[in-house]
Amino acid sequence: MNTEINKTLQQPWKPRIVAFFCNWCTYTAADLAGVSRLKYAPSVLIIRLMCSGRVDPQFVLDAFAKGADGVLIGGCHFGDCHYIEGNHKMFRRYQMLKRMIVNMGIEPERLRLEWISASEGDKLKRVINDMNEKVQALGPLNLPGKFQEWDLEIQDMIDQNGDMPAAKEEHHV
Amino acid sequence: MKYLYYPGCSLKSSGRAYEESLLAVFDALDIQLEEIDDWNCCGATSYMGVDEIKAFGLAARNIGLANRQKKTQDDEETHIIAPCSACYLVLLKTQKYLATHTDVRNSIQGGLSEIDLDLNSNIKIRHPLDVLVNDIGYQKIAERVQKPLKNVKVASYYGCQIIRPYQEFDKEYYPMTMDHLVTKLGGEAVDWPLKTRCCGGTLMGTMQDVGLQINYRLLKEAHRRNADVMITTCPLCQFNLECYQDKIMKSHNDSVEMPVIYFTQLMGMAFGLSDISLGLNRLLTPVSDIFQ
């Protein structure tokens, strides 16, 4: 795996955005974008779910914690959900998630929810490129790296002050 | 509401009748106009074809001036009235172009900063026709009429620039604002399919035979539809259609004489304003006999 790491080291930094797309609209739109040979930034890594309603807020937080620089959620437009209103449920979670990540010090632009129907391959392209540009401008989030730094800081404090209550904690959200 | 007024070169020269009638009509309707101090050329015609940046720069300076004038009065939103179709279009185009082309905007803003001016998006470019029918309203205009244009058949000539490429207040293929205005003034609007056809622009100076033919067709069709008078919104259209009528008639061996006046002049006549105040004395083809 060293060759891979070396290669990534040589390249300029590129964001990595984890995308959760619903099977019926946005994933199909991604297929359409492919079939239409539209070109977009390679930073988006798609995970297919049946419905945007399946996106557990934990998935989003986990993606950030594991090193994603952005998270994109794609679902059907209101009224178009294959499961009637799963997207409404996601929308509510999204409002909550937005507040949460801001409190955690993550820029709000790193999380995005978009309604992209099966026919909107061009919108998918626009959204991905736009988000790629914005996250690129924000730079790396690198939560795993920060976790390590904080671990070291805490270790230092322990080393200097001896006992520290509840010093070590798992960083899994 | 106070409007800033950008006259442009034509209204101070060949189109003086336009300015006179515009000011008279606005005054009659209690609309205040304030001329922009130190305005310059709008950047139309040759400039736009030769060097877009310089043309945008010229237009932008006028917008910057309006912005400064506005700031001293601390107004919320400012409207510039540009009566000449070319000025109207160039100012509008500049605003729209700079809004989407940040690089050009930045370089022009840089230049304007040198002379303490800045562009402001809160400025709106308006055509007086738009202001009259949409801000003032047909109702209020109709109420001001003292001498209704009874039995006067009017062909409204919109020309190209106020509706193309932007449709700020009327439709591009068959505009109707002036036609409605004519009916409110008590006149009869002639359904005239050439209302947005080209007047030849500067062809009258460069390829006169073409210019003459274009204008002959406009006048001929207005005649065929029994129009008594043609109204325009643009100094160049008015100039082409009126000043060359002799030549047109001679070259086509057809009598197509017809008064061609500004829509503001027609409004002023219906309002009962004096001929002098409306610049009617400047017309080559007299208009007074259309009133019985």
């Binding site: 795996m1 891979e4 790491i5 290669k7 990534t8 390249q11 930094w13 590129k14 990595r16 984890v18 099977n23 019926w24 609209c25 994933y27 199909t28 991604a30 297929d31 974008a33 492919g34 079939v35 040979r37 070109k39 977009y40 390679p42 890594l45 798609i46 995970i47 297919r48 779910l49 049946m50 309603g53 399946r54 996106v55 557990d56 998935f59 986990d62 594991k66 090193g67 994603a68 009224g79 178009d80 294959h82 499961y83 009637i84 209103e85 799963g86 449920k89 979670r93 129907s117 099966a118 026919s119 392209k125 790396p140 795993p144 | 439709k171 293929y173 068959y174 399919p193 069709e221 065929r224």
Partner: protein
């Protein structure tokens, strides 16, 4: 997540597909295979030209046997295209089909990226995620649901008629619902059909009466589907019957009531003749309307509106078929599949004001001219204009509302051919000079080009160019009183003015205005413009994303009568295939409750749109009815105790995917 160590016996086979050059051109598949080989649990990696081909699938099957593989990852195209193919390969190889995970490196990678290195890196990232995920896959059983053999056909144009008859002839029970008072659709309005010029009514009306008389078809005209629910095999539909104020079973269609109406003269817009003639408040759309039952127009009938009419119509009806107390009625039916044949509308040329429609009397739409040339039409088949004159020169403007950025971008496919047909008919009826203004002549179809040739020989004029405007402005004396068509003749290279008496606008085909409502009702998808989308543009042209719902005719896209008939036949056969099988296999992606973790908070109950979750009072736990669950996973995501799981989309599977995607640190 130490998934692989938990499943110590996991043996993964990884296959990356070239897809000819489709993938291999933009992704270095050899590097991908090499990188994936290093991952724990991966026993073998292979690259192959076409994984979906038989040899490709056999490769997997042999490896399963020889290398004892128990998990398979295929990196190729979209799972929506070939997941089933590879699942079958697993089954044939003796493995549970759900031990498969696909990686979409074609639609999501090679087709959309240009930088080969980055695309290769992305393919590796996605593959790593799939390898991690597949390691913890579980064996699952496919669900089966039984199929109700009854079919609902929505829309009674030629497509709906053909689909209904095909199914009914196969012995299936069909409900045909049409919102107008008669079936027949647009085809009933046409005069003759290209390229054979056989009369539309002659070939359509026998089919219409077949529908009416078929013992297996329940025909409901003047009715609409207002509610729709359920899933493949057992749909429920609620049908609204609009009041005709006539008892359908009693009316024999003698039409005496129409003569007797208090309105001596027809006064209202005749929809069938596109407003070219008038009808009374009681009417029959056209003589062969099916069913042969009159209808009362509630907007204009004095009795319906004010209840104070002499009702001369009722007096003459010796069948006592009138019932002015009729109200809307509703009926619920259960069907196993649905065919949507809701048709199209023609482009409204008022949106192209430069063509003068609605402004000049002698500018017509092609649909209006269909009625004018029809011998049963408003002019008795004589080509007369609104002023009663016969045209001497006629201009036919093609592509009105088609192939145009300002209106509709698509080609409506039928206009060239019907314009040729109208040109030929007008010439035949009047001997007029006919000009066709076209952008390109599009005549693909059996006998179509030959028809074009025939019309050319009939000395119809063809001018190549999009018409700029239709005006009554006469530039020359000869043009006075005419309509002038201004056009750039692109073959001559000049702007021409062609004075004519009559202009025919060949209007394009558009989706129905309420296409989006229909789409929503049936939960299928449609393109931005409103044509319903098929599951696959080539390989599944009548299926939709919703199982058991099929589409045919112009609701799917512009097409002519032969294509509509072929497509509706195909839709009927697909429905028959479903019915004959009797059962439908469903993805086992249902949710289930881990009872020991369920706290009984009931958060999930209200979330489920299918009422699949119930609360079991005795145990104070939630329970999911697998038969009702559609597998959206909304409850799974919402359960505060993580007590709900979803087959195929387990939390752990998603987490391992996330981890797999991101496990290479980027600095």
């Amino acid at each position: 997540m130490s998934s692989t160590s938990k499943n110590g016996s996991v043996r993964i086979g990884y296959y990356v597909c070239h897809c000819g050059h489709n993938i291999a051109a933009n992704v270095d598949v050899a590097i991908v295979a090499k990188e994936i080989e290093k991952l724990p649990g991966v026993v073998i990696t292979r690259e192959y030209k076409y994984m979906c081909s038989d040899p490709g699938q056999e490769l997997i099957q042999e490896d399963i046997k020889e290398l004892n593989l128990n998990r398979i990852v295929v990196a190729s195209c979209s799972p929506l295209l070939h997941e089933q193919t590879f699942r079958n390969a697993l089954t044939h190889g003796g493995l549970n089909p759900y031990f498969l995970q696909m990686v979409n490196i074609r639609e999501n990678v090679s087709w959309v990226h240009t930088d080969r290195e980055l695309a290769t890196q992305k393919a590796i990232d996605l593959s790593r995620a799939a390898v991690r995920r597949v390691a913890i896959h579980k064996a699952l059983e496919t669900r089966q649901v039984s199929i109700n053999p009854d079919v609902l056909v929505v829309g009674g144009g030629i497509s709906g008629i053909n689909a209904a008859l095909t199914l009914a002839n196969a012995g299936k029970k069909v409900y045909l619902v049409e919102r107008d008072p008669t079936i027949g659709g647009h085809m009933a309005q046409f005069d003759k059909t290209f390229p054979t010029l056989d009369c539309a009514a002659c070939i359509l009306t026998p089919k219409m009466s077949d529908v009416k008389n078929h013992p297996n078809i329940t025909l409901w005209t003047y009715s609409e589907v207002v509610e729709f629910s359920g899933f493949v095999g057992s749909f429920k539909a609620k049908i609204k019957h609009k009041p005709r104020y006539i008892i359908e079973d009693l009316c024999v269609g003698c039409l005496d009531c129409i003569d007797a109406c208090v309105y001596k003269n027809p006064k209202y817009r005749d929809e069938f003749n596109v407003g070219l003639s008038k009808r009374k408040p009681i009417y029959i759309p056209f003589p062969q309307a099916t069913p042969q039952v009159v209808v009362v127009d509630p907007e204009n009938c004095i009795q319906v509106k004010r209840g104070k009419c002499k009702m001369t119509c009722v007096d003459v009806c010796d069948r006592n078929a009138f019932d002015f107390t009729q109200q809307e009625t509703f009926e619920e039916i259960q069907v196993g599949s649905v065919i949507l044949t809701t048709g199209f509308q023609t482009f409204n040329p008022e949106k192209t004001p430069y063509y003068g429609y609605g402004k000049y009397d002698n500018v017509y739409t092609s649909l209006e001219v269909e009625r004018i040339v029809n011998s049963a039409g408003p002019t008795g088949g004589e080509v007369l204009m609104r002023d009663g004159q016969k045209p001497k020169k006629v201009g036919i403007v093609h592509c009105v509302g088609s192939r145009d950025d300002r209106t509709n971008k698509w080609c409506s496919r039928v206009c060239c051919m019907y314009s040729l047909k109208l040109a030929s008919l007008i010439k035949e009826h009047t001997g007029a000079e006919v000009y066709n203004f076209y952008i390109d002549m599009r005549t693909p179809g059996k006998g179509y080009e030959e028809f074009y040739d025939k019309v050319l020989k009939e000395k119809v004029h063809f001018i190549r160019g999009r018409v700029a405007e239709v005006t009554d402005w006469a530039a020359e004396k000869e043009e006075e009183g005419k309509l002038i068509i201004r056009v750039e003749d692109t073959l001559v290279g000049a702007v021409r003015r062609i004075p004519v008496d009559m202009v025919v606008l060949s209007v394009g085909i558009e989706p129905q205005t309420d296409a989006h409502d229909v789409r929503r009702l049936f939960n299928i998808s449609c393109s931005t413009e409103g044509f319903f989308t098929e599951r696959h543009p080539k390989l599944a042209p009548v299926e939709t994303a919703a199982e058991g719902i099929f589409i045919a005719g112009c609701c799917q896209g512009p097409k002519d009568i032969p294509d509509s008939v072929a497509q509706s036949g195909a839709a009927a056969s697909q429905a028959l295939a479903l019915i004959d099988k009797g059962v439908m296999e469903m993805e086992p992606n249902t949710a289930y409750v881990l009872e020991e973790a369920c706290s009984g908070c009931k958060s999930c109950i209200s979330l489920c749109p299918y009422t699949a979750i119930t609360f079991v009072e005795e145990r104070k736990k939630a329970e999911i009815n697998e038969a009702l669950c559609k597998g959206c996973g909304t409850c799974v995501a919402a359960c505060p105790s993580s007590a709900i799981m979803q087959n195929l989309f387990e939390d752990d599977e998603i987490y391992s995917e996330i981890e797999g995607l991101l496990s290479i640190p980027q600095l």
